[in-house]
């Protein structure tokens, strides 16, 4: 199988093959023809023990919307792994978003909405406070990542939130109805 894999600025096209060396062995071929062989065993439901040569690595992993979050030790590494079709779709989507100039601020953690600091249609500066979320006795102000206008408000004061819940969409004034 071929995948487009991205880690930070690094982007590579990889082929994963099963050369029949045993259940857990795979051969990964990079764009430039290099290959590495992995002995990758799932040792816990979300944890892989990987041996490359004689080196032992252990990765915990979690898949979230096409991104694979690998934890090495206590360091999280976010890797995007897409197949060709998904990579094309993603490209198209990013292009559209860039044109629209819309950003939706999401809850960085589960918590409670203490205050919504802006109103629909209001102009906001980059870095201006949009809402205050509370969890574990800590209040956190969410700031606008761009200059623009409040297009949508999802959050309500007093509301309990899941992590990554959408709160407020900021965009260009032209997008207002």
């Amino acid at each position: 199988m071929g995948y487009i894999v991205r880690l930070n600025a690094l982007k590579q096209r990889l082929e994963v093959e099963k050369p029949g060396l045993g259940l857990a062995r795979v051969l990964v071929r990079f764009e430039d023809g290099r290959t590495i062989e992995l002995d990758a065993h799932r040792v816990e439901p979300n944890c892989f023990s990987v041996i490359v040569g004689t080196r032992v690595y252990e990765f915990d992993c979690d898949i979230q919307n096409g991104d694979i979050e690998l934890h090495f030790g206590n360091e999280p590494l976010i890797v995007s792994v897409l197949d060709e079709r998904e990579a094309l779709l993603q490209q198209a989507k990013e292009g559209a978003a860039a044109q629209g100039g819309e950003v939706t601020v999401t809850a960085p953690m589960p918590g409670k909405v203490v205050a919504v600091l802006v109103a629909k249609g209001e102009k906001v500066e980059k870095g201006q406070g949009l809402a205050v979320i509370e969890a574990m006795k800590m209040e956190n102000e969410l700031k606008s990542p761009i200059e623009g206008v409040v297009l949508k408000i999802f959050a309500q004061e007093g509301q309990a939130l899941e992590g990554k819940a959408p709160l407020i969409t900021i965009g260009q004034a032209t997008a207002l109805p």
Binding site: V16, I36, Y57, D62, N74, L77, V79
Partner: protein
């Protein structure tokens, strides 16, 4: 009194900690729990448990009447308050006295005197205990603050009379920011403790936070159990504690210990308590406040002395006499504690509640994990983010540091974020290694520490190849599952684990 059943008016790791000792003493334990805490470890570990209707701390663990009802229902003869919540609430201790329930802690009067910061400062001054220059009375108006600030001198600290944990505390560097510092300290204090009174204190230069553990029985025998160095703090929250402190020699240790015993005696203290001190760069020490309860970091004292402080607390509450000999209380080796918080160090230390998908406890010699969670536990959004404490001991400080690095490496917490990688950065920093740090170190140096930190990561090729392999394997399994499902096979509910399919 022969206490046979104790209610723990707390939750999380400290409740579990107390239950463990009660079990060893043959004393029955009663847990109380808020609605989101039904699945929590302390409930599972206790002999009995009573639900407290409600969700927030105020509705549950802070509700004196609900806790009292639980104690009456289960006929608990004593209550251990742990730390936080009602642990330093003199009215609660008083209510227990009225109800004939033993409060495992000091008498209400001692809590009241030490809890009222300005009263405590006065009492300590009278007892000949050095305090930081500042006001002895609470200040309430901006004019008063401005007048007194001139006398104390800048930089100065505005601190809430009640409470602790960095809440209601602001620094004023000079006249210009005095007004705003006063206002925000007072309003934060009012919100957090229902009491907006603040007082002024001279800001100590390069301050180290060093505290002395004291223990006193009901016969007036009062001892100190050496010091704990707690200067590694982030926003006034302790992060790493160790004992002994690198800045204390035996003479100073003895002087501070004597001072602590004097301070405890000045309020007729009974039980386990802690005298928190500031030590300046010239090694002058000042009484800061007394915590009239078990301290989060008590295990490092246990580690170097080979004692169980909770067992001592219960014994004192039973009216037993302490048989200690102050000159023979000598620590052995070095102990370090790291506090494990559910927070994201890569994202401004935002709290990180949620489901703990994977939890691995470190093992091996002289490693202790006191945890309030387990694999599959849900960390609720309503309470403190502390989920565990990791304590190591070794023969020397450098060895203990290496052991802590190893143990932190073994500790695995997944599903939520934790501060483990942050702790690894801090403990491997030059400042920690040399012991040259004060309470402001982390707040000023953390960004550069983070920059410097060199985490050993696998080669990028391995990371990319593993990520692709994980996806590849997932697709293989899903294809397999799909085929089986299509063929009408039904996975057994009880036996099914996704990962079995792979083996």
């Amino acid at each position: 009194m022969n206490i046979k059943k104790v209610l723990i008016a707390n939750r999380g790791e400290v409740a579990a900690r107390i239950i463990r000792t009660l079990k060893e003493m043959g004393v029955a334990s009663v847990a109380v729990f808020s609605e989101p805490d039904r699945h929590s470890l302390h409930v599972r570990m206790a002999d009995e448990a009573v639900g407290l209707e409600g969700t927030t701390s105020r509705e549950t663990y802070l509700d004196v009447e609900k806790i009292l009802a639980a104690a009456r229902k289960t006929k608990a003869q004593a209550i251990h308050p742990g730390y936080g919540f009602l642990a330093e609430n003199p009215e609660f201790a008083e209510r227990l006295e009225e109800e004939g329930i033993v409060f495992i802690g000091p008498k209400p009067e001692a809590i009241r005197k030490m809890g009222h910061k300005t009263t405590a400062r006065q009492l300590m001054t009278e007892a000949g205990v050095p305090v930081i220059p500042g006001t002895l009375e609470p200040v309430r108006t901006l004019e008063e603050v401005q007048r007194l600030a001139e006398k104390t001198g800048y930089p100065l600290l505005i601190k809430a009379k009640a409470g602790g944990g960095g809440k209601g505390m602001r620094i004023a560097e000079g006249m210009n920011d005095l007004a705003s510092a006063f206002r925000s300290a007072a309003s934060e204090a009012l919100q957090a403790f229902g009491d907006g009174d603040v007082y002024l204190e001279k800001l100590v230069s390069k301050p180290r936070h060093i505290e002395i553990q004291v223990i006193a029985d009901t016969f007036g025998n009062t001892f100190h159990l050496l010091e704990r160095e707690c200067s590694m703090q982030r926003r006034h929250q302790k992060v790493i504690e160790e004992t002994p402190s690198v800045v204390l020699d035996d003479t100073m240790r003895e002087r501070m210990g004597e001072m602590a015993v004097r301070a405890a005696k000045a309020v007729g203290y009974e039980g386990a308590g802690t005298i928190e001190c500031l030590v300046d760069e010239n090694r002058n020490f000042y009484f800061l406040e007394m915590n009239t309860r078990l301290q989060v970091e008590h295990p490092i004292t246990e580690a170097i002395l080979g004692v169980d402080l909770v067992r001592m607390q219960v014994a004192i509450a039973r009216g037993e006499r302490l048989s200690l000999d102050q000159p023979n209380i000598k620590g052995k080796g070095h102990a370090i504690e790291c506090r494990i918080y559910a927070e994201d160090p890569d994202n401004g230390f935002l709290p990180s509640p949620g489901l703990i998908r994977s939890f691995r406890v470190p093992g091996g010699p002289f490693v202790r994990l006191d945890s309030g969670v387990f694999e599959g536990a849900k960390v609720p959004i309503y309470y403190d983010p502390i989920i565990a404490k990791l304590i190591v001991w070794d023969e020397t400080r450098p060895l203990a540091i290496k052991r802590m690095v190893r143990a932190l490496g073994e500790l695995k917490i997944r599903g939520i974020r934790s501060n483990v990688s942050f702790l690894l950065d801090v403990i491997q920093s030059k400042a920690f290694q040399t012991g040259d740090y004060d309470t402001r170190f982390l707040d000023t140096h953390w960004p550069e520490l983070k920059e410097e930190s060199e985490k050993e990561l696998p080669p990028e090729d391995v990371i990319l190849a593993t990520a692709a392999t994980v996806r590849f394997r997932q697709e293989q399994i899903q294809r397999g599952l799909g085929q089986r499902r299509a063929a009408g096979a039904q996975a057994s509910f009880w036996r099914y684990t996704p990962w079995k399919a792979l083996r």
